[in-house]
Subunit: 430 residues, 2 copies
């Protein structure tokens, strides 16, 4: 290891308390998707105080709408894009090096039910080397790591050759349309991007395809005392449910994907999933349910396109309907709504992947594996629509999206070290 690298690592060790303090402040600014403004103002000031050129701008939905990956996100429908800026800091290198984009999403999912938490979700309390709070792991820990990776280099006066972009974006949890996609469409480019999603000793090299769909099943109403004259749409929805679960089992056998199965031992054979998350039907206990709707998500690893998957789901529901005398004549309607993400995969032979893997193994002292492909991530916007090689790498945490989310603070520091070394090695030093 070079002397400059060792200086950066020991500088980061010396800044441990400051980094934890920074992360605590960020966790204590609630930034549930749609309400990202205060946290983004905070990040704007942080990047500005680091001496970066900083741009803070709201997404232009008219530009986004023209892009094939556009969909109206839930938070866009609720809030629009006013007061929901992205923040991008720019460091101009000395020239002659590779450029790198460090990026994290500022939005977090709802902490509800808050009463179920052991510690208040906006407290950022530290217990046994873990910081608890909504977003601590997903992914304000990663934002702290990347911010201090660059800051340590700047503080020490080390001159990078390549340019660096460092940004925090909105609504990743909703699909990143107004966040990462807007960033890419605004023209920000680099030779590679690292998104600091939580991962620990896993490098994320794939993003899942994701679709939401709604199945509307019609029945025929009748008074409950004459239920035999009606057709209960709840019963018919159970038929559709079974058909979707049968497809799920068949797909899980057929579609295997190493990186998704690497995510955890229990992910074996679970690279693709169909989930029926919401059901609503009928109007009154004494009326035969005349309608029922199912809201579903299908996720799948790279290998199938959105249109492949839509066709398979539609065919399955139509085939199941043919076997039911009522559904045959009253086929369910399928609506694709909300999340609509093509899967993407980063070639693991790309130099940035090899560099991060080697650097991470060096710092963490353990084997680092490639993972990903069960969840939709912002990496797809960089890869598919920006032509920017992109991976995820970030600190280790647990209970993301759940109760008592926490990030391991040692891991935050180690991640910062990996990212700092990556900056030095990728961008080069004069």
């Amino acid at each position: 290891m070079k002397i400059v690298e060792e200086k950066v690592l020991s500088y980061l060790d010396s800044k441990r308390d400051e980094i934890i303090d920074f992360l605590g402040k960020l966790v204590r600014i609630p930034s549930v998707v749609g309400e990202e403004l205060e946290a983004q103002k905070f990040m704007y000031n942080v990047f500005r105080d680091m001496g970066l050129e900083v741009e803070m701008w709201e997404p232009d939905v008219d530009v986004l709408r023209r892009h094939p990956a556009f969909f109206e996100t839930t938070s866009f429908k609720k809030y629009g894009y006013r007061n929901r800026p992205n923040v991008i800091g720019r460091f101009r290198g000395e020239g002659g090096g590779n450029s790198l984009f460090l990026c994290g999403h500022i939005d977090v999912v709802s902490p509800e039910p808050i009463n179920a938490w052991s510690y208040p979700p906006w407290s950022g309390i530290v217990v046994d080397g873990k910081m608890y709070g909504r977003g601590a792991a997903d992914q304000k820990g990663g934002i702290a790591s990347m911010t201090y990776a660059l800051k340590s280099i700047l503080d020490l006066g080390i001159k990078l050759k390549g340019n660096v972009l460092i940004g925090t974006t909105i609504e990743e949890e909703d699909g990143g349309i107004g966040g990462a996609l807007a960033v890419v469409l605004k023209g920000y480019r680099a030779d590679a991007a690292i998104l600091t999603e939580p991962g620990g000793s896993r490098i994320g090299v794939a993003s899942a395809g994701v679709l939401y769909f709604r199945v509307k099943v019609m029945g025929r109403t009748a008074h409950a005392s004459r239920a035999h004259l009606g057709v209960n749409a709840i019963e018919k929805a159970c038929t559709v449910y079974r058909a979707l679960m049968e497809l799920n089992r068949e797909r899980q056998k057929r579609i295997r994907y190493e990186y998704a199965e690497n995510e955890a031992p229990h992910m074996k054979g679970r690279a693709t999933t169909i989930n029926v998350g919401v059901i609503k039907g009928g109007d009154w206990p004494s009326t035969v349910a005349g309608w029922t709707e199912l809201e579903c998500r299908i996720g799948w690893p790279p290998g199938e396109s959105i249109s492949d998957v839509k066709r398979e789901v539609e065919t399955t529901i139509m085939e199941a309907s043919k076997e039911d005398s009522w559904l045959r004549d009253h086929p369910p309607k399928i609506e694709w709504f909300g999340w609509s993400a093509e899967p993407s995969e980063q070639d693991v032979n790309h130099p940035i992947v090899k560099l991060v893997k080697g650097t991470a193994e060096e710092v963490l002292g353990e084997r680092v594996v490639f993972a990903g492909g069960s969840a939709g991530l912002d990496t797809r916007h960089f890869i598919l629509y920006g032509g920017i090689p992109a991976i995820t790498f970030g600190p280790e945490g647990e209970n993301t999206h759940g109760i008592d989310e926490y990030v391991n603070l040692d891991s935050v520091i180690k991640t910062s070290k990996v990212l700092a070394l990556t900056l030095l090695r990728w961008c080069g030093v004069t």
Copy 2:
């Protein structure tokens, strides 16, 4: 037939246009359950103009709550009982005769979806001898018949021996707690009651037991990409649905009831029914549904008590849960809510039943049958809680609670004749 009877019948024939005009006015006053005030003011004036002593009063919920048959009706929860009066007119006879209570409910169910109607539901338009409109059959037609039955006798100066009560009550469609039950608890009594629900050539002699219940099924949430770590409450609700339908089939084989099966040819073997009318579950397409609720109605003919039926439903759900490894440890919760009606049956050998049957067959010129027991009616309040023998008899109509409800106008006049003759024969004439 006596001369006085013939006079009344021909008087009613001469009043046909006036009766139809009266019914049209009443249909044109919307009186969806909960919003009965304007129609009740109209009836108050009608009864007053007939020279009756009229009382118009709002139900006292504190009195009602102390009664074992009380439950909070849907419209009570929404509106309370302010501005929802019952109207009772009293005619004092000369003495020495039987007393009769003629009663109809003024409330109607919602006409939605209004756009589906061939004629506006509050128009009371007459086409081919039928008056169309929400409530035309259920049961403003019956109110017109009973009003003119008494009015014709009074107009002709005929002196009845027995007392007559004539009333219009609220919220029968919601269970009649603030209507018929409140009337009975206020102390109105007669030797018999005729409720003018639609029926044509059927005399209603039974009211169904009715219970609403909610089954809450818990699952375990998980992100959709890790659905295998969760337990989908929608799937478990389908299991409960199947168990309830299995119980329904078994009960329909076991429980036969002639009067309910008399209601229509298709009612054979359908005297009892279980309906799952509403389903709601889960929060988000990408989260495994952590909960699902079913809202159900069970109706049954006289023969079982409320507690018998509750026990059978609860046992069925618990037995089905034992066969499921998740439900065994997380048994569904069952809540009994809303409608809670004991079944009741009127002895068909009672003189009022024989009298109405004979009179109806005489006027209609066809065989009149006994029916009832698939729907909960206000008769139960009179029989069970007032000790008043009670039946339903009213004009013939179709599409009650549905689109294009209508009443047959010939039948309105004939019903008025049957009721007028019944008054003369039951109360006696000086």
